[in-house]
């Protein structure tokens, strides 16, 4: 007994029990990151089915209903299974170390919020094996497609979303409590690293909108099984109401997926430019402004439902306003690099690619915000190209950058720089071949979510699919790099990177199982 007791204090338990019962923020962060990577591969394999079917015009590989299941599951798995848990994993690993806290504020809830996730996704993925097939109504699950015309498996989808929501909300409460209550003495709010700031704001967004998502799927549940008519026109409901409630959740959701990415990039660029982050205060205010604006722009996703002209103008201008704080951020990153002593290790390459490609995605977003133009672009591949540019070379690249940046701190070894660079360049080239032609397809009028298309779209689809396979395959390099890095390599120092600043770089590499059990020396906490 006493031996087991000692284990608890000095190191992890052995075997499976370590992972099942762990309350250690580093273990839970690791679990989140591996889970997210598994989901990334699963959602990626769905995308490969989509791109393989679209490789040529005509129906070759799958029937249209299964194709729709693939687009739906790809979106759901990537958004809720890959991107969001990856950021929560990074938060778990890094936040306590960045603010000098011994662990997360609510460690047992932390365990719970991770361990319900695999069940949610097992439930969601199991629908693929059901007689009715998986959900096929798109990741936005518009009513009445997702109610009156939904496959029977929709109920599993609804409960899966409930569980994911509960997980995210618990995770967010934990993050807010950690940041607000467990900062080391001397770590004032305006001295926190930007990753901490962006996560604090993201966590507030999550607890504000995940319950609305839970509400909207609950309404669907009632419409489907209990005869209510929230979205059923025959009973006095309105399908357009669904879109309003969904996008009231959905728009802040897209910032939930990008704000922590801003934090990651704001950590990496100063390190490799060997300069302090330019305009720290403005970064904080810009993040907060983006979060606020995200609540008043939702209807730009639904310009074509028939809104009064005043409404369309309001949502158009509000949306364009977001470009201002986002522009502030991009300028700050560029100004940080300006006249810096830059080196181009893998995390920096991903971070620079993020700045360039995310900005391109932002510009296409501005084009989509223009109401009259949106009537042309709505539901075309232009939209697909836009949100993939902000999510893949945006959010996903920042997650990869973060993994390369902090891997030495996690494992104690340097990763293979040559393989890392190979991974970067293949991803960078692949992602552009994959998504850039989709802009042209959309402008030429190819609708999204179709398994077959008119012949004039054949060439760009062919190119896009080639890029897709290249991008998909090159992600396996990341897996190899991570496994190699866990097994060994050049020993990493505590500082790891020459220009790295912050508390997480003052502890050993690999980070001991328990860090900052006594608060760090306040002298280590610098102005930003």
């Amino acid at each position: 007994m006493s031996a087991a007791h000692d284990d608890h204090h000095h190191g992890p338990a052995k075997g499976l029990r370590r992972w099942l019962f762990t309350t250690n923020h580093k273990d839970i962060g690791t679990l989140y990151l591996w889970f997210s990577f598994a989901m990334f591969l699963l959602g990626g394999s769905f995308a490969m089915v989509i791109r393989a079917e679209l490789f040529q015009p005509g129906l070759q590989l799958v029937d249209p209903n299964f194709f729709n299941q693939m687009t739906t599951m790809h979106g759901l798995v990537m958004v809720f299974g890959a991107v969001m848990p990856a950021f929560v994993g990074l938060a778990n690993w890094m936040l306590p170390m960045m603010i000098g806290a011994p662990d997360m504020a609510l460690p047992r809830m932390n365990n719970w919020s991770f361990w319900i996730l695999p069940f949610a996704f097992a439930m969601l993925a199991s629908t693929l094996l059901m007689e009715s097939g998986a959900p096929n109504f798109g990741w936005t699950f518009y009513a009445p497609l997702s109610t009156t015309y939904a496959p029977d498996s929709v109920t599993f989808f609804i409960f899966a979303v409930h569980i994911m929501g509960a997980s995210s909300i618990m995770g967010s409460i934990n993050i807010i409590a950690t940041i607000l209550n467990l900062r080391a003495p001397g770590m004032t709010l305006m001295k926190m690293p930007l990753f901490v700031w962006t996560w604090l704001i993201t966590a507030y967004l999550l607890i504000a909108v995940m319950p609305v998502l839970a509400g909207v799927v609950t309404m669907m549940l009632f419409d489907i099984h209990f005869g209510t008519s929230f979205f059923n026109a025959a009973g006095g409901g309105d399908p357009v109401l669904f879109q309003h409630v969904f996008w009231f959740f959905g728009h802040p959701e897209v910032y939930i997926m990008i704000l922590p990415a801003f934090g990651v990039v704001s950590a990496i660029i100063p390190t490799f430019a060997r300069k302090r982050l330019f305009g720290y205060d403005s970064m904080v205010y810009a993040t907060a402004s983006i979060a606020f604006l995200s609540f008043i722009v939702w209807a730009h996703h639904m310009f074509t439902v028939g809104m009064p002209i005043a409404g369309e103008l309001f949502f158009m201008y509000a949306t364009m306003l977001i470009a201002v704080p986002t522009g502030v951020k991009v300028f700050n990153w560029v100004a940080t690099m300006f006249r810096g002593s830059m080196t181009f290790e893998t995390p920096m390459l991903f971070a620079i690619a993020f700045v360039v490609l995310f900005t391109m995605g932002g510009f296409t977003g501005l084009m989509l915000a223009v109401t009259p133009a949106d009537f042309q672009y709505h539901d075309t591949y232009f939209v697909v190209a836009h949100f993939h540019y902000v999510l893949v070379p945006g959010a996903v690249f920042s997650i990869m950058a973060a993994c390369y940046y902090w891997l030495p701190k996690w494992t104690g070894y340097m990763y293979d720089e040559r393989l890392g660079k190979l991974h970067f360049w293949l991803s960078f080239i692949g992602v552009n071949i994959l998504f850039f032609p989709q802009h042209f397809l959309g402008l030429a009028g190819m609708p999204r979510r179709i398994p077959d298309y008119a012949l004039q779209f054949a060439d760009f689809n062919w190119i896009s699919s080639i890029g897709g396979f290249l991008f998909g395959a090159s992600q396996l390099i990341l897996l190899v790099v991570v496994i190699k890095c866990i097994k060994g390599g050049k020993k990493a120092t505590a500082q790891v990177w020459e220009g790295a600043q912050g508390l997480e770089w003052t502890v050993d590499s690999p980070a001991p199982y328990h860090t900052f059990t006594t608060p760090p020396d306040p002298k280590l906490i610098h102005d930003q």
Binding site: I173, M210, G235, P308
Partner: protein, 190 residues
Amino acid sequence: MANAKNDNANTKLVKKLFLITVGMFGFGFAMVPMYDVICDITGLNGKTSGRYTAELEQSAEQLEERQITVQFLAQNNEGMSWAFRANDPQVKVKPGEVKVVSYQAKNVKDYAMTGQAIPSVAPNEAAQYLKKIECFCFAEQDLAPGEEVEMALRFFVDKDIPKHITKLTLSYSLFDITKEQNAAESVAVR
């Protein structure tokens, strides 16, 4: 490691955050009536308001000269099989003048069915000026096999209707609610 002071602060904060969560869950549902109210005020989505119950003063000399064309459409929603049409495809009315038109519906199936008509006005802006005193859409229609009914609609166009609207279209979609009818209580429809 976490001391008592921290535990206390955590409990307080978690309670607050949990309250926000519950509140936002409620807010999601509150959006439903809010949406209805906004649609009512603005005529968003061409939703017409419910039965017009206020007193109508109607004297011929007060009627304006301008004429507004009101067109009537009838369509079956997917899966509905009734023969459903407007008897008067279009009428001209003066603002404030009460008109009666009728629709025809026939159950062509060999079993009893229930239908529910849902109105929509285009342009949306005009929706709030179309007042219905009596409408078959306020009730469900139960038709025996082969039964045919003539259904009345008594309405007027409000005098406040903007000058630039000279034509409006009232469209009814007929939904088959035979299945739902038993499952759910009838919801207040317009």
